[in-house]
C-alpha cells in the first residue's frame, strides 16, 4: 500500500494486490494461531493452579501462576531428578561423538574429491533413514551381552544416538566447511602454517558458530528422543523415557501431563530460538 500512497499520480486502488495481501496475512495469521494455541495451552496448563486446571470450562487466561505442577511432576517418581542429569550426559556424549567423528568426515567431504564419495554420502543418508527400532532392538541385545545395557552412565544410548547424529553432522559440517572458501586455508599454508595449523587458526574460528549450532541441534535431538530411550533403558532412564512413562500412564491428569510436557519443552525451545537461523538454513535456506 505504501507504493500507492507514494505514487505521484494515483491510478486507483489495486484491488488484486490488496486481496492478495489480505489473503497472505490471513493465511499467516491462521497458521500462526493453529501452531501457537496448542503450545500456549501446554504452558498455561503447566503453570495454572490445580483448581483452575480442573475447572470447567478452564479459563483462557489463568488467574494465578504456580510452580506446584512442576513440583508434583519432579517428585512423583524418584527417578526423575537423576534422569535429568542423565539426559544431559547422553546429549553431551552424543555431541562429542557426533562432532568429532562426523566433523572429520564432513571436512573430508567438503575439501577433497575422492573415490566413493558419492556412495558414502548416500549411505549416510540411508543410515539416517533406517528406522530407529530396527537398530535399537538388536543393539540392546548386543549391549546386554556386553554388560553395557542400562548402565548408570548411559553409554549405550549415546552410542546409538551417535549413529543417526554422525550422519546428520557430516551433512551439516560439510556444508559449513564448504561455506568457508578453501583459499583462506591455502593462503595460511602459503604464509607459513601446516594444513592442521591452517585448520585450527583459520577454518575452526570461522566455522565455530556453525559447529556450535550443530552441537545444539544434536543436543535437542538427544534430549527429545524417547523411543530408543525407552527400549535401551530400564532402571536408569533418561528424562524423556521416564517422562514418557509418567505422562502416558496419567490419562486425565492434565496438570501432570502438561507439567511434564512443558518441562521437556523448555530446553528445546530455548535452544531452537538461539540457533533458529541455522535450523532454517538446514531446512533448505528459506528466506521469505
Amino acid at each position: 500500500m505504501n507504493e500507492a500512497t507514494l505514487a505521484p499520480q494515483r491510478v486507483g486502488v489495486n484491488w488484486r494486490r490488496f486481496t492478495g495481501l489480505t489473503l497472505t496475512y490471513l493465511a499467516v495469521a491462521g497458521i500462526v494461531l493453529f501452531i501457537l494455541v496448542p503450545v500456549y495451552f501446554l504452558f498455561i496448563l503447566a503453570f495454572m493452579s490445580r483448581a483452575e486446571v480442573y475447572s470447567w470450562p478452564m479459563p483462557l487466561f489463568p488467574q494465578q501462576f504456580t510452580l506446584d505442577n512442576f513440583h508434583f511432576f519432579l517428585t512423583i517418581n524418584p527417578k526423575i531428578i537423576p534422569s535429568i542429569w542423565r539426559s544431559i550426559e547422553v546429549a553431551v556424549t552424543t555431541i562429542v561423538i557426533a562432532l568429532s567423528i562426523g566433523g572429520l568426515a564432513g571436512y573430508s567431504f567438503a575439501r577433497f574429491r575422492f573415490r566413493g564419495k558419492n556412495a558414502l554420502k548416500l549411505s549416510v543418508l540411508f543410515v539416517r533413514m533406517y528406522p530407529g527400532v530396527a537398530v535399537a532392538i538388536p543393539m540392546a541385545v548386543l549391549f546386554m551381552r556386553l554388560g553395557l545395557y542400562d548402565t548408570p552412565f548411559p553409554i549405550a544410548l549415546a552410542l546409538n544416538y551417535g549413529v543417526g547424529n554422525i550422519g546428520l553432522t557430516i551433512w551439516i559440517t560439510a556444508s559449513i566447511f564448504l561455506g568457508i572458501n578453501e583459499e583462506l586455508e591455502e593462503q595460511a599454508m602459503v604464509l607459513g602454517l601446516s594444513r592442521m595449523g591452517a585448520f585450527f587458526r583459520i577454518t575452526l574460528p570461522l566455522a565455530a558458530p556453525g559447529l556450535a549450532a550443530a552441537a545444539i541441534y544434536t543436543f535437542i535431538g538427544a534430549w527429545n528422543e524417547v523411543v530408543i530411550a525407552t527400549l535401551m533403558t530400564q532402571f536408569n532412564p533418561t528424562l524423556a523415557a521416564v517422562t514418557y512413562h509418567t505422562v502416558a500412564a496419567a490419562a486425565g491428569a492434565l496438570h501432570l501431563q502438561s507439567a511434564g510436557g512443558a518441562f521437556m519443552a523448555f530446553p528445546a525451545l530455548i535452544f531452537t530460538f538461539i540457533i533458529k537461523r541455522y535450523i532454517i538454513q538446514m531446512w533448505g535456506g528459506v528466506r521469505i
Binding site: 583459499e183 591455502e186 593462503q187 595460511a188 602459503v190 607459513g192 595449523g197
Partner: protein, 366 residues
C-alpha cells in the same frame, strides 16, 4: 636469486584427466611471467603446483636451486594472491597482513616492533594505512584486493604467485590495479608468476608470456613476440580482439614468384615469407591476418568485398565482410571512413604482417 624451474611437470586428476602434461618452464629471477590461456588449460593447476598446494603427478619443480617437490607450501618462501583475495574475515586488516610474520618459519627474527614496522610499510605501499583497524567485511572488493597484496608483500618472498587476482574487480579498477601491480613488482624485486585468462592484462604487465593450451605450453615469448609472431594458429587466434582472420589458401607458383590464392583473392608473396614457403614446399596453408592489418579503401586494393555489418567502437569501427556462407572477414578501420552496410569497398592486406600456418599442424610457417 630465485628463478623458478619446471621440468616435465605433469598433473593428473583422477585416472584420466591430465590437467598439465610434461610442462617445462623457466622463469628468470625478478621476471614478471604471465601464464595465459583459456579456462581449463592448466594454468592455475601449474601455479598451485609451484605453490605446493597440489602435488605434481610427475616432474620436478625448483625454486632457486632448491628442488621443492617435497617441500610444504609454508617452507617454499613464496606468497600468493588468490582470485577470491582470501582475506580472513575474522581478523582485522592489520592481523591479516601480519599473519605471515607471526606464524611459521618466518616468525623467527621478527620482534613485535619489526612486525609493526613491516605492516605499516607495506600498507603504505598499497595505500591502505587508514584501514588497518577495520575488519575485511567493512571493505570494498578493491580494498580487500589491496589487503591481499599487502599481506603477500609483508613476508618479502622470493616468488609471488598471482591467481587471477584482478578478475573479481570491475573493469575500471582492474586497469588501475594493473599499473599498481606492475609498479609493486618492480619495487619488491622478486620473481612474479601471474595467472590470467585476460590477454590485455597479460600484454600490459608481462615481461614474458607463456600461453598454455590443454596442459602444455603453446608459446613462450615477450608480449610483442606473442602478438606479432604467434608460433601457431592457437596463439594467433587466442590473442587479439577482434580475433585474427583465418583464411584457407593455396600456394601457386606464378612466373617465378609465389601467389596465395583463395576463391576471393590472389596476393603475391614476397621476401622472406616467400623464401620460407618455397623452402618447405608448402602447397596449402592457413593465412592469418589481424583485423587492423586489413586496410579498407573506397578506391582500390587487393580485392573487392561488400560491407556486411558495421560496429562503431569510438575512434575505430569493426567492419565485417561476408566473403561466403562460412567465412566472415573482419577489419578494424578508422571511424572516419564513411561506409554503410551493403556498400562495395576494396580490401588489402598489410604485406609485412601476414601469418602463415600449416593447415594440419597449425604451426607457423614464415
Amino acid at each position: 636469486m630465485a628463478q623458478v624451474r619446471l621440468e616435465k611437470v605433469s598433473k593428473r586428476f583422477g585416472k584420466r584427466v591430465w590437467a598439465v602434461r610434461e610442462f617445462d618452464l623457466r622463469v628468470a629471477d625478478r621476471e614478471f611471467l604471465v601464464l595465459l590461456g583459456p579456462s581449463g588449460c592448466g594454468k592455475t593447476t601449474t601455479l598451485r603446483m609451484i605453490a605446493g598446494l597440489e602435488q605434481p603427478t610427475a616432474g620436478l619443480i625448483y625454486i632457486g636451486e632448491r628442488l621443492v617437490n617435497l617441500v610444504p607450501p609454508r617452507d617454499r618462501d613464496i606468497s600468493m594472491v588468490f582470485q577470491s583475495y582470501a582475506v580472513w574475515p575474522h581478523m582485522k586488516v592489520y592481523d591479516n597482513i601480519a599473519f605471515g610474520l607471526r606464524y611459521g618459519r618466518r616468525k623467527k627474527g621478527f620482534s613485535k616492533a619489526d612486525v609493526d614496522r613491516v605492516v605499516h610499510e607495506v600498507a603504505r605501499l598499497v595505500r591502505i594505512e587508514e584501514l588497518l583497524d577495520r575488519y575485511p567485511t567493512q571493505l570494498s572488493g578493491g580494498q580487500r584486493q589491496r589487503v591481499a597484496l599487502a599481506r603477500a608483500l609483508a613476508v618479502k618472498p622470493q616468488v609471488f604467485l598471482y591467481d587471477e587476482p584482478l578478475s573479481n574487480l570491475d573493469a575500471k579498477l582492474r586497469i588501475q590495479m594493473r599499473t599498481e601491480l606492475k609498479y609493486i613488482h618492480e619495487q619488491a624485486g622478486a620473481t612474479s608468476i601471474y595467472v590470467t585468462h585476460d590477454q590485455a592484462e597479460a600484454m600490459s604487465m608481462a615481461d614474458r608470456i607463456m600461453v598454455m593450451r590443454q596442459g602444455q605450453g603453446a608459446q613462450l615469448g615477450s608480449p610483442n613476440e606473442i602478438y606479432f609472431r604467434p608460433a601457431n594458429q592457437f596463439v594467433a587466434g587466442f590473442i587479439g580482439t577482434p580475433p585474427m582472420n583465418m583464411l584457407e589458401v593455396e600456394v601457386e607458383e606464378d612466373g617465378g614468384g609465389l601467389m596465395l590464392v583463395s576463391p576471393h583473392f590472389r596476393i603475391p608473396l614476397e621476401g622472406e615469407t616467400a623464401a620460407a614457403v618455397k623452402g618447405r614446399g608448402v602447397r596449402q596453408a592457413v593465412l592469418g591476418v589481424r583485423p587492423e592489418d586489413v586496410a579498407v579503401s573506397l578506391e582500390g586494393g587487393d580485392f573487392p568485398a561488400r560491407v556486411f555489418v558495421v560496429e562503431p567502437q569510438g575512434p575505430q569501427q569493426i567492419l565485417s565482410f561476408k566473403l561466403d556462407e562460412a567465412l566472415i572477414l573482419k577489419s578494424l578501420a578508422s571511424a572516419d571512413l564513411p561506409v554503410s552496410p551493403g556498400q562495395q569497398v576494396w580490401l588489402s592486406f598489410h604485406r609485412d604482417r601476414l601469418h602463415l600456418f600449416d593447415r594440419d599442424s597449425g604451426v607457423r610457417i614464415n
